[in-house]
């Protein structure tokens, strides 16, 4: 067979926490547009960070260093979690970045919101994946090459989309009903686009760690690293690839530190490397090394959730599907609104956890459903979510109901406001610079007439430039606001005139100060040399600052420093 008897084990951890919603009442509709329970979110995240993320990251980093590249893992850190880490636990992000730097850790792409977008809208799905890739690049410093969807949701169609986006491999569940007699312990590929490799989770060996590890009524309890290696060794002859995909919170959260889970994590790599033929690899590496044995056909979506390995944990009852449909009915309007805050809420509201909380499957998998669940029952979860969604819709309608023209008007008005602000700032700056110049020239004293003249000319040219640049700004504002022709015409004119006036005024005042400074120069010639140059410098800086209308503040401080 392929790849000459290579035995590979792939460790993957899902890292995700949602933005939980606060109790949002009907009476808040239309008034309160903040939906998140900051206290709960922060306290849960801090707790998880301290009990799981930080200690586990440290152990993994140590293991990588210890095994010198032989130990490798993969993570998928959801976009929502990255946002939360930035808010509440930036040190965790640092530790992930450190892991990325080792080169032995792969970070996978997923949907930014840990959402179910793949079930509804390809466009939204792709947008979210791209957003997530951006976030991972920016905050973890890794460019993801492989993909895994929210909660291992996968179908042939999704696989094809993911392949089209250029990803090499995708992770999913080794669900019995899709595998039939086949073994999950080989590499497969997508049926539509065979270039996409599909890694199937070995749920027995994964759940041994994730769910059974601290279960004392389990006949294999306690699970040790050696025992685990022995099990792997037993299946090694008949398998090429064992995929262990688990929740990262398995370490320290679902299994407490007292259960010995961290010791297990610490000793497992050595035991596996020593006692089994398996070698650690990450998904992208696997996609390049191993050959797929067959295509795996998954016509309807599967996931890693619950006994059924389907979507019923999120879309299993009427409440869930109603909420889900209502949410995605808003998609088009959200994009028409084009507002950052709306996009943010849109992302956070999509997180699959909100639907998970509405699940009424309390029997076989009840315990898993109650992890970090802020609600007493699914009905409460539904009530709250729908209220929030209604408020979100009210906001959308407020923005969207305004017609295209009105929108353009609003934008122009905003632009004018912005430009006014810039003009105001620059006027202030001119003022401060002038007073500084006055001080300077007061002490600078003696300069020859020639120098005076030259300085004057410099200054004049400077002010001229300034007037020109201000006029340019006004012109630019006008050019931009040309979207609406007739209506805004009237508005533009006063602005133009105002800007022009202002610039003229500024120019005039400049000239007069230049004159003054020229008159008042009676300081020893020795000092005058260097001073003069600084004056020139500041003058040139000034013009520069005025020309580049933005970041003027910075430049002036720069000028200050140069003195």
């Amino acid at each position: 067979m392929s790849a000459a008897g290579k035995k590979v084990i792939c460790l993957f951890f899902e890292v995700h926490q949602p933005f939980r919603l606060k109790r949002y009442r009907f009476f808040d509709l239309g008034h309160d547009h903040y939906y998140y329970d900051d206290y709960t979110n922060e306290s849960i995240l801090r707790k998880v960070a301290e009990r799981c993320y930080l200690p586990a990251n440290k152990i993994i980093l140590d293991l990588i260093n210890k095994h010198k590249g032989k130990f490798k893992v993969a993570f998928s850190v959801s976009g929502i979690l990255i946002d939360q880490l930035r808010l509440y636990a930036p040190e965790v992000l640092d530790s992930f970045r450190k892991l990325a730097e080792t080169g032995s850790v792969e970070f996978l792409a997923e949907t930014q919101a840990h959402s179910l977008a793949s079930l509804k809208s390809r466009a939204e799905f792709e947008k979210q994946v791209n957003n997530h890739v951006g976030l991972v690049k920016e905050f973890i410093g890794y460019d993801p090459q492989s993909f895994r969807n929210t909660e291992m949701i996968y179908s042939d169609q999704m696989g094809a989309w993911v392949a089209d986006m250029g990803f090499k491999a995708m992770l999913t569940e080794g669900a019995k009903h899709i595998l039939g007699w086949k073994s999950p312990n080989f590499l497969y590929c997508n049926t539509i686009n065979p270039r996409l490799k599909v890694l199937l989770r070995n749920f027995v060996l994964s759940d041994d760690i994730a769910f059974r590890f601290s279960n004392r009524s389990w006949n294999e309890w306690p699970l040790t690293a050696d025992k685990y290696a022995l099990w792997l060794e037993k299946i090694s002859k008949k398998s090429e690839l064992v995929n262990i995909f688990i929740d990262y919170e398995t370490f320290g959260e679902h299994n407490s530190a007292e259960s010995g889970i961290f010791d297990f994590l610490e000793h497992m790599p050595a035991a596996i490397l020593k006692k089994t033929p398996f070698r650690f690899m990450t998904p992208t590496e696997i996609s390049k090394t191993l050959q797929p044995v067959a295509a795996i056909s998954v016509p309807s979506p599967i996931s890693w959730a619950d006994e059924e390995r389907d979507l019923t944990a999120w879309l299993g009852n009427e409440l869930q599907s109603a909420a889900f449909e209502k949410l995605y009915e808003l998609e088009e309007r959200v994009y028409r609104c084009n507002s950052d805050q709306i996009f943010k809420d849109w992302t956070y509201l999509q997180s699959s956890d909100h639907f998970y909380y509405m699940s009424t499957k309390f029997f076989s998998d009840g315990i898993v459903h109650t992890y970090f669940n802020p609600y007493d029952n699914p009905y409460e979860a539904f009530m709250n979510y729908m209220n929030v969604l209604s408020d979100f819709e009210i906001r959308l309608n407020r923005i969207c109901n305004t017609s295209e023209q009105e929108l353009a008007m609003i934008r122009v008005r905003e632009q004018i406001k912005e430009k006014d602000e810039i003009i105001r700032k620059q006027e202030k700056e001119i003022e401060t610079l002038r007073s500084k110049l006055q001080k300077l020239t007061g002490t600078a004293g003696k300069t020859t007439g020639k120098e005076k003249k030259s300085k004057e000319t410099v200054k004049k040219s400077g002010t001229e430039k300034k007037t020109r640049s201000l006029a340019e700004i006004a012109a630019e504002a006008i050019a931009k606001s040309k979207i609406v022709k007739t209506k805004t015409e009237a508005k533009k004119k006063p602005v133009k005139a105002g800007a022009a006036k202002k610039s003229v005024k500024a120019g005039a005042s400049k000239k007069s100060t230049a004159g003054k400074t020229a008159a008042k120069k009676e300081v020893p010639a020795k000092k005058a040399g260097p001073r003069k140059t600084t004056v020139k410098k500041t003058a040139s800086k000034k013009t520069g600052a005025a020309a580049t209308k933005t970041a003027t503040g910075k430049k002036t401080t720069g000028a200050k420093k140069s003195k």
């Binding site: 009907f26 008034h31 009427e318 009905y379 539904f382």
Partner: protein
């Protein structure tokens, strides 16, 4: 005239209309001359409004020290003497000790008390209700032997046994007030034990007050009571000062249609959802609110989800105090589609808050209101029609608001109280002539 009244709840600790009604009635009574009311509830919390009545919590009456005081009563009281063989116990171990001594356990009744000899009541409609009702009657007997009064008035079945016991101890006549029967609560699926208690109360009473003719007919036909004994006294509503009403700033433009009450079979919540669905098919700028909680809430949520109207159909859970007024102030239509409503005070409150109301013909309040839309509870088309009409035609809703307010202001508890006093006088007069 002194009245010893037995109720089950008293504001602010209420779970339904019963507390509101008994409070309103006692307030009305004490505004009349020479009327004094002693109001007994199973559990007094201590923060009730006692300006109008003296409130006694049965949970504050020690039972253990009173046993002997019943001696020397006439034949009627002999039963009580049996009951006076109550053996209070404070913990299960003691109970076990007592029951071990067979002669002690024989004919006697064991009542669990705390270490001061007081019985603990939960004061709620759950737990072991029948036991609580029974315990309540035991304490009622103790109270009746202590207090001085002319007549006994018991509100609803939970208090009937207490009223009977008090009447037997004191020999004073009993008037019972039927706010609802089990036929209303269960939708026809009557609990035989509850029926038995109700029937006993009605038989023992000198007069029966019903809150509507609808209920009167049920009492007469289903409980086989002599019609001459049953009289209707309509409920009323506490006037609210409109200027005091909070002006609510609604955060959205849509109209609001409100259902406010327990989400149970009796209140017909499913008809509201179906009507809402019909309205939403023809107009979008409307939101429906189902405020309250109850055993059918989850089913209703699933139904709303299945109809795909949850973006316009909201659930608030149980509302308390101010939230109720806020809700009414936000509403453009109030709807009470009760399958069987003996009276129904809430539409009156809505009308006072300037909200047009739609009520079911199967409600007692329909007998006294003219300026309200009345529909059959099952007629969702008519309901949807009415909602649409009121929301769409401002002239119509304006008319309902103006006339409704005028109408409802005249429905005063004082009038109901006067009516009740007439009944008392008749009963007492009849008693004297015997």
């Amino acid at each position: 005239m002194r009245v010893l009244m037995f109720g089950w709840e008293f504001p602010p600790h209420i779970s339904g209309g019963l507390g509101t009604a008994s409070y309103g009635l006692t307030r009305g009574m004490t505004s009349l001359k020479d009327m004094e009311v002693i109001f007994v509830v199973p559990k007094a919390w201590g923060d009730e409004d006692q300006s109008a009545v003296r409130l006694i919590g049965a949970n504050n009456i020690p039972v253990a020290y009173r046993r002997i005081s019943y001696r020397g009563f006439t034949r009627e009281v002999e039963k009580i003497e049996v009951r006076s063989e109550i053996i209070p116990y404070t913990d299960p171990e003691e109970f076990w000790k007592i029951t071990r001594r067979k002669e002690a356990a024989g004919q006697r009744i064991l009542v669990r008390t705390d270490n001061k000899g007081k019985i603990e009541f939960s004061g709620r409609y759950n737990g072991n209700l029948l036991e609580e009702i029974y315990n309540y009657s035991v304490v009622a007997a103790v109270i009746a032997s202590e207090e001085n009064f002319d007549i006994i008035h018991a509100h609803d079945w939970l208090a009937y046994p207490a009223g009977i016991a008090a009447s037997q101890v004191s020999g004073k006549p009993l008037v019972i007030h039927v706010h609802a029967t089990d036929f209303d609560r269960s939708g026809g699926n009557v609990n035989p034990e509850v029926y038995r208690i109700e029937k006993q109360g009605m038989d023992a009473a000198a007069r029966i007050i019903t809150v509507s003719n609808l209920t009167r007919d049920i009492v007469i036909s289903k409980y086989n009571i002599d019609p001459a004994k049953v009289e209707t006294v309509y409920n009323a509503v506490e006037p609210v000062d409109v200027t005091e009403q909070l002006q609510v700033n609604k955060g959205f433009d849509e109209k609001v249609v409100t259902f406010l009450g327990r989400i149970t079979l009796q209140k017909g919540p499913e008809y509201f959802i179906e009507a809402a669905n019909k309205v939403l098919k023809v107009m979008k700028n409307v939101r429906f609110v189902m405020a309250g909680s109850g055993d059918m809430m989850e089913r209703m949520m699933r139904r709303a989800a299945a109809l795909r109207i949850t973006d316009r159909f909201h659930f608030t859970g149980f509302l308390r105090g101010r939230d109720v007024f806020t809700m009414l102030a936000m509403s453009d239509v109030y709807i009470m589609p009760s399958v069987s409503e003996p009276f129904g005070i809430s539409p009156l409150e809505a009308m006072l808050s300037n909200v047009p109301v739609i009520i079911s013909k199967q409600s007692g309040v329909a007998e006294i209101l003219t300026h309200a839309v009345k529909v059959d509870f099952w007629d969702i088309d008519a309901m949807a029609d009415a909602i649409y009409g009121i929301l769409t035609y401002p002239a119509l809703s304006g008319e309902f608001i103006r006339n409704g307010r005028e109408e409802v202001i005249r429905i005063k508890w004082e009038n109901s109280a006067r009516h009740v006093r007439e009944i008392y006088e008749e009963v007492l007069g009849k008693n004297k002539s015997h």
